[in-house]
């Protein structure tokens, strides 16, 4: 057990934990933030994505000690006043089916738009390719990313 400190959703948090615990389980079991999902546990699907210093990272195999002093944003902390533009676009386009993969999809899209505010279809394909959705919502995700990009630009 060690003390681990990082910024979570814009607030400093310190907790006593096994530093090897994957961030996913710290978020879900110790901090009660269940918006970050477990699906493959092997870094393959992207359902457990969070933002670490603005980059999309998979939390299921990432020991919590590696985020010490970093900024972690989960789906719960994404919107500052109300929903983020990407979340709004998701609602508008009715993207989610079951919804289980969607926090991962949204955070990957947010990270993409941070770097590339006007991505082409091919760039979206590349950035989102490893984020899996068993329900098959890809077509709507693409549309929603374009919509959010437009929203952010205007």
């Amino acid at each position: 057990m060690e003390k681990v400190t990082f910024t979570l959703n814009h607030k400093r948090v310190t907790l006593e934990t096994d530093p090897e615990t994957p961030l996913l389980w710290v978020l879900r079991d110790e901090l009660g933030l269940t918006g970050t999902k477990y699906s493959c546990g092997m870094g393959i699907c992207g359902s457990c994505t969070v933002l670490i210093d603005g980059n999309a990272r998979r939390s299921c195999r990432l020991p919590v000690k590696s985020v010490i002093d970093k900024e972690v944003v989960t789906i719960e902390g994404l919107g500052v006043d109300g929903l983020h533009a990407v979340q709004n676009a998701w609602v508008e386009e009715e993207v989610p089916q079951c919804g289980y993969c969607q926090s991962g999809q949204i955070l990957n899209a947010v990270a993409l738009l941070e770097k590339n505010p006007d991505p082409s279809d091919a760039e979206i394909d590349r950035a989102m390719d490893g984020v899996l959705c068993r329900c098959g919502t890809y077509q709507r995700i693409k549309k929603a990313i374009h919509k959010a990009a437009e929203e952010v630009r205007s």
Partner: protein
């Protein structure tokens, strides 16, 4: 008003329902409960089990089925709200727990809309009728002079009005009518509109809780080290190392393996890694997929039963000018919902309380009963939200896990599965092989059709034959038969069940005969379906929207398939191209669907998109294989899903119809792979008969 107790048994319900629409009366008889009405008259009005209106105008609608991504959380309330003339902004949805009043609560067979439509319309209309009666009585005007709209009752002449919330006390005292008038569908205001999901926001802000997220104070988490091969048994166990892992509390044997109960998920997972278990080889240690395939192929030579026998196939085969003989084969498939299976159970106060993300809480209830020996009233099961289901969560194995593990604890226990456990312990779409043939005469008329199916069916041939006899092609001589095998690999309903196999066979066989006899695949289908307007309707719509017959870009080709399942009709036109590497690219899917009256067109579109992707995944990659008596695949690297960059444009066209509504969850799946394979054949000349093909 009679006084019925809350514990009406099924026989009483049936008695009460005699002579009237059973399901609605089931609901209404519940409302005849004296206590419920007395309580209701204070602040709420609940004329039946499906809704409750509060004095603050809130309309709480109970959804009696389970939500897993098919959006019935919105479409079922739309039906009730339509007849209630509700203010949609005041609607709140409550997930209905297992309750006899709702009849079967199994969510499968694309049946939610189909079976609940009349019930929910009547439930809404009943409440509206009573609210209007209450208003008319208080204004002392004739009922006929009043009407309701958007949660308010109006008196036509005096322009008086009253919101539903103000009328609940009065309405609750009225007798519940048994006969009510339903709206003329041409006056629908909600049904048929693309309404946004009522839970849409909760799916993008992380607030929606799925089974995996469920939490109770003091709850423990457990994972199971599972039986590694079919039929193998535990021979030895050393849990000493596991018990030293901080947070691990207990190690217990259960029927599916050895469970590690811990304070949290990570501790349970770490503890499981340290278990030392020895297992017997068991009776199936040499079972493998090639043996299964060989056995199923051999069983093709045996006929257990003939399920369609028209005319004389042998005679027609002899006189045919051209014949096609093909053998098709498909593997086992896992559902792999994005959320792995899980369930929470707690034994307290002499009861077993269960929280199950389940498509079939009744099945979980029965499992709990079998395990605990408790009485019906000592088991409570709540339905939680699911991250996908696709048929997997019709089973109760994960409920049984939670009940068995929780028996060893005073605290609530959530039993979670990791992805590998979930993939390796599935109830798979059966593997099957099919010998199929067809022939034409000199005029190009299809004269015979023969289809022999062989697969594991767990005693119910529908698991492998469903849809085989329902192709509707006007062919005079037909023989369809099967042979069933027993295999230790568990099987279950996978999104559209056997239609995945039979549509593949039917639609590829027909395509092949069209090619062999030099006929256009759409034209041939039109001729053979001329007496089936709804099949023709989707076929023509898809062909038109896909510009069938028009020239495609160089290196592109199109294929078509049409199939009816679960009383809905879908035609697919697939357009493909080939990369230099030889890899096939699915460019576009044009889907036409006829689900009768459409409740939420956007919901239908999203189910078509999802069904198409799941079907493409199956055709390209889906394969569960058996090695040494166990499933070989373990995660998305060896059981891959279609990716973003492989997703075609999917265009959905919905047939306008006043027919009874039917479901959209499964029907888009069956025709998609054959349309794709027919397109590939048109492009490359290669007839693919084994899936997956990439």
């Amino acid at each position: 008003m009679t006084s019925q107790s809350n514990t009406l048994n099924r026989r009483d319900f049936i008695k009460l329902s005699t002579g009237s629409t059973a399901a609605l009366v089931l609901g209404l008889s519940w409302s005849c409960d004296g206590n419920r009405v007395a309580k209701a008259s204070n602040a709420t009005f609940s004329p039946n089990a499906y809704l409750e209106i509060g004095s603050d105008d809130t309309v709480r609608i109970v959804m009696p089925r389970s939500e897993m991504g098919q959006k019935i959380y919105t479409s079922l309330p739309m039906i009730l709200a339509e007849e209630l003339e509700a203010d949609w902004t005041k609607v709140k949805v409550i997930q209905g727990d297992l309750n006899e009043v709702f009849g079967s609560q199994s969510t499968g067979g694309s049946a939610s809309i189909r079976t609940q439509y009349d019930i929910l319309r009547k439930a809404g209309a009943t409440a509206k009728t009573m609210l209007i009666q209450a208003a008319a009585a208080s204004w002392q005007v004739p009922v006929e002079k009043c009407y309701a709209s958007e949660g308010v009752v109006y008196h036509k002449d005096s322009k008086r009005k009253s919101a539903y919330g103000k009328l609940v006390g009065q309405a609750a005292k009225l007798p519940v009518p048994t006969e009510v008038t339903l709206k003329d569908p041409r006056k629908f205001k909600i049904i048929g509109k693309a309404y946004k999901s009522l839970d849409g926001r909760s799916k993008v802000d992380g607030s929606l809780k799925y089974g995996y997220d469920f939490h109770l104070p003091g709850m423990l988490t457990a994972v199971i080290s599972r039986i590694p091969r079919y039929g193998s048994e535990l021979e030895g166990m050393d849990d000493s190392a596991a018990l030293t892992v901080p947070g691990v509390l207990k190690v217990v044997k259960v029927s599916s393996g050895v469970a590690v109960i811990a304070k949290n998920s990570y501790a349970a997972l770490e503890g499981r890694k340290k278990l030392e278990l020895t297992w017997s080889p068991g009776p199936h240690a040499s079972l493998n997929s090639s043996q299964i395939s060989a056995d199923l192929n051999q069983a093709l030579d045996r006929t257990d039963a003939i399920i369609r026998d028209d005319g004389d196939v042998e005679q027609a085969r002899r006189s045919a000018t051209k014949t096609v003989d093909l053998t098709f084969e498909v593997p086992y498939l896992d559902h792999a919902p994005q959320e792995p299976n899980n369930c929470t159970a707690h034994f307290h106060d002499g009861i077993c309380e269960i929280w199950a993300p389940s498509q079939n809480p009744g099945n979980g209830f029965n499992a709990a009963k079998r395990i605990t020996g408790l009485n019906d009233h000592e088991i409570i099961i709540h339905t939680l939200r699911m991250g996908g289901g696709f048929g997997r969560r019709l089973q109760a194995d994960y409920v049984a896990d939670a009940v068995e593990v929780a028996q060893h604890s005073d605290s609530p226990v959530k039993v979670i599965r990791t992805r590998d456990e979930d993939i390796k312990n599935g109830f798979y779409r059966p593997a099957s092989v099919h010998r199929a043939s067809a022939g034409v005469d000199q005029n190009g008329a299809v004269t015979f059709w023969q289809h022999q199916i062989s697969g594991p069916a767990a005693g119910w041939h529908g698991m492998i034959t469903g849809g085989a006899t329902e192709h509707a092609y006007a062919i005079p001589n037909q023989k369809i038969s099967y042979s069933m095998s027993d295999l230790p690999v568990p099987i279950g309903a996978w999104r559209s069940v056997a239609n995945t196999q039979t549509a593949f066979v039917n639609e590829c066989l027909l395509d092949e005969i069209a090619i062999k006899s030099d006929q256009d695949p759409v034209e041939l289908r039109r001729r053979l379906l001329k007496d089936h307007p709804r099949r023709l309707g989707v076929l023509n719509l898809a062909a038109e929207k896909a510009n069938w017959g028009k020239k495609l870009p160089d290196g592109h080709a199109a294929g078509v398939a049409v199939h009816k399942s679960f009383q809905s009709y879908v035609a697919i036109v697939a357009e493909v191209s080939q990369e230099k590497s030889g890899k096939i690219r699915v460019e576009k899917i044009t889907a036409a669907i006829d689900v009768g009256t459409v409740i939420n067109p956007d919901g239908v579109r999203s189910q078509v998109e999802g069904g198409v992707i799941m079907a493409l995944t199956a055709a390209l990659y889906g394969e569960i294989t058996i090695e040494k008596g166990a499933v070989k695949q373990s995660n998305f690297h060896n059981y891959p899903l279609l990716k973003f960059s492989e997703t075609p444009v999917i265009e959905t066209h919905i047939v306008k119809s006043m027919e009874k509504p039917t479901g959209a969850g499964e029907p888009p799946v069956p025709p998609t792979p054959p349309a794709l394979l027919n397109a590939i054949c048109a492009l490359t000349g290669e007839r693919i008969t084994r899936l997956p093909f990439s």
